[in-house]
């Protein structure tokens, strides 16, 4: 069963304890200066944003069909059965295709490093495997970030919206976006106002399908194209060969 996070923006009080817990979990520096940063970066995987007294959290969406995992030439990213999309720094060669491919712009880069890594929220895979919550969900004092089974969280989100329709927009961001994600967001202001890509723009199609349509043809294309090229070669050289053979025959015809 796949785990997920439900973020309910209406319950968030912007205490930023999730930011601190995340930094601690991932051994990143966290002080007032980092807390004041409102954008994600290689040293800040999650951020709580404020706009007109309303809050919104941003983190890796952990897509059900992650673009980063499909584009990585060395397979440094993969989606675990438990839900987290994790990164193997050893494999990474630093092509940064994951960064350009991600519809949510989650992978960040250590631009100043001499042996740079791609950095993003990896949904505390060690904790999840051990049956614990993610660090951010565990510390959240209001329950705005909740950890659980994805199916249960979807049901809970639907219930909350149904029971209190005036407090929420009637949609769960991440339910179907790019084929569904393991982070679900409900709020009373459109997430797009905080920099999330619009649902209409990214669509419900899993990202890997866009390149998959081409890639899946290649195993068929190679033998067919090789045969075509070989055929062209054979036909266009046949005449020369025939001519050469005839000349040869003429020259020492009696000897053969």
């Amino acid at each position: 069963m796949s785990k997920a996070l439900l973020y309910d923006a209406t319950m968030c009080i912007a205490c930023k304890q999730c930011e601190g817990a995340c930094a601690q979990q991932n051994k990143l520096p966290y002080d007032d200066k980092v807390a004041a940063e409102s954008v994600q970066s290689a040293h800040k995987y999650t951020v709580v944003m404020t706009k007109d007294d309303k809050f919104m959290r941003r983190l890796c969406m952990h897509c059900e069909h992650p673009a980063c995992a499909s584009v990585c030439p060395v397979g440094a990213f993969h989606k675990t059965a438990e839900g987290p999309v994790v990164y193997d720094v050893w494999k990474c060669i630093g092509c940064r295709y994951c960064m350009v491919a991600c519809a949510f712009n989650q992978p960040k880069y250590e631009w100043q490093s001499l042996n740079p890594r791609v950095r993003k929220c990896i949904m505390c895979p060690d904790r999840v495997l051990a049956g614990k919550q993610t660090a951010c969900a565990e510390i959240c004092p209001t329950g705005a970030t909740k950890f659980g089974e994805r199916d249960d969280l979807v049901r809970e989100a639907q219930d909350r919206i149904r029971q209190n329709p005036s407090a929420y927009l009637s949609r769960i961001y991440g339910l179907n976006e790019v084929g569904g994600t393991s982070v679900l967001i409900i709020s009373n202001v459109p997430v797009e106002q905080y920099g999330y890509p619009a649902s209409a723009k990214i669509g419900d199609t899993p990202m890997p399908e866009y390149t998959g349509r081409v890639m899946e043809r290649i195993p068929d294309f190679i033998p067919v194209w090789t045969l075509v090229l070989g055929g062209i070669y054979w036909v266009s050289h046949r005449r020369d060969e025939v001519a050469a053979a005839e000349a040869e025959e003429k020259k020492n015809g009696s000897a053969r």
Partner: protein, 395 residues
């Protein structure tokens, strides 16, 4: 004369010094220090020009090899060697460029042991690696011939059909796949350049530019090395280029028509200015020029038309890789001077290596003595081997 030579040498040295400085910055201070790339713009000039354009500019190799060996068009035989040389140098320099751009180039060999067959980048990587090897073997006869090694030339000649077919297969795959790289970014890349037809467009433009580059480098080396210009070959290439440009133009039109963008591309906007520039350079100017028989038959006309074509498609690839993302990202990306200087260094290296190869290897073997001794008579001796060892030895 002498001043001019010195001038270009000085330019070369300046480019090299600046390039080496940037190389030091790149490897001792990191990508952040050397470039204006950022989390918003993770791919910059090095991907847009060195990689996307570099591979396109080296496409002459497979175009000419395909024409001469696959379709047996003997008339173009004299341009095979320079085209293969350009392609080989192009791919080697592509790999050099990649070592600058990759964040962890020392792990590039991981590509061979950790394979992700779903990744377009993986396919490009494997194809480029294999094709560079193929080009190496296609290039080798030049070296063997120089040292009169007949036996290895015979071996290569034996496997030549395999090399040719493999080379064209690999080129088809990775030239088109460079376009497929961008298929996964429908929400980011501007609709002028995002299209499901990207792999076809990239393959088509590679053929047009391959032909144009062959005209360009033939004319250029005739000028620089005082060689006799083979006009009939250029005229033939010019005709093929015109056809290739029309096919590309129709593909582009069909794509915009099909996606209902024709109304949008004529409206002024930041993107449409760049699109107009690209379309003018790549299609309008060269197609108009080449439509006149007078231009098609003149070396100068062909030379200019090929330059416009090359510039046009370079603009196209920079639009796909850089311009097309600016509105999405919300700010402009202007490469840092150190990024330019690395690119310039790689291009200058390409020119220098081409010059050296022409000087020391029988790249133009059929010509016994330089017809015009224009630039540097002392350095341009005739081909080193007195007689070609085998006719069309290998290539």
């Amino acid at each position: 004369m002498k001043f001019k030579l010195t001038f270009w040498k000085v330019v070369f040295i300046v480019i090299m010094v600046l390039g080496l400085y940037s190389t030091v910055v790149r490897f001792f201070y990191g990508l952040g220090a050397v470039s204006n790339m950022s989390d918003q713009f993770p791919w910059g000039l090095w991907i847009g020009f060195d990689l996307l354009c570099g591979v396109m500019l080296a496409a002459g190799g497979f175009c000419i090899v395909g024409a001469v060996y696959l379709f047996n068009v003997e008339r173009l035989h004299s341009v095979v060697r320079p085209a293969v040389l350009t392609a080989f140098l192009g791919y080697v320099l592509f790999i050099v460029g990649l070592l600058f751009d990759l964040g962890r180039p020392w792990y590039i060999w991981h590509q061979l042991i950790y394979m992700n067959p779903h990744s377009v980048m993986f396919e490009v990587g494997i194809c480029v690696m294999s094709y560079t090897t193929v080009l190496f073997f296609e290039f080798l006869p030049n070296v063997f011939e120089k040292f009169n090694l007949i036996t290895p030339i015979k071996w290569i000649k034996k496997i030549y059909p395999v090399l040719i077919i493999l080379g064209i297969l690999l080129s088809t795959l990775h030239q088109s796949s460079l376009g497929s790289l961008y298929l996964i970014m429908p929400s980011k890349l501007h609709p002028f350049w995002y299209t499901p037809a990207l792999p076809f467009l990239f393959f088509g433009s590679a053929i047009a530019v391959g032909l144009a580059m062959t005209i360009f480098e033939s004319t250029q080396s005739a000028k620089a090395f005082g060689r006799h210009l083979e006009l009939p070959v250029l005229v033939e290439l010019g005709g093929a280029l015109l056809v290739a440009l029309w096919v590309n133009a129709l593909l582009r039109f069909e794509d915009y028509f099909h996606r209902g963008l024709l109304g949008q591309i004529i409206k002024p906007s930041y993107e449409s200015y760049f699109l107009w520039l690209e379309l003018a350079l790549a299609f309008v100017i060269p197609i108009t020029m080449l439509s006149f028989k007078k231009v098609r038959l003149s070396p100068r006309g062909l030379y200019l038309a090929s330059i416009f074509t090359v510039l046009g498609f370079i603009t196209n690839r920079l639009n796909v890789s850089l311009t097309g993302f600016e509105t999405y990202v919300g700010h402009h990306y202007v490469p840092k001077w150190t990024e330019f200087s690395v690119t310039l260094m790689i291009v200058a290296l390409g020119f220098a290596l081409f010059g050296l190869a022409v000087k020391y290897l029988p790249i133009f073997p059929e010509e016994k003595y330089p017809v015009q001794q224009r630039l540097r008579p002392a350095t341009v001796a005739g081909p080193v081997t007195a007689e070609p060892v085998l006719d069309h030895a290998g290539n």
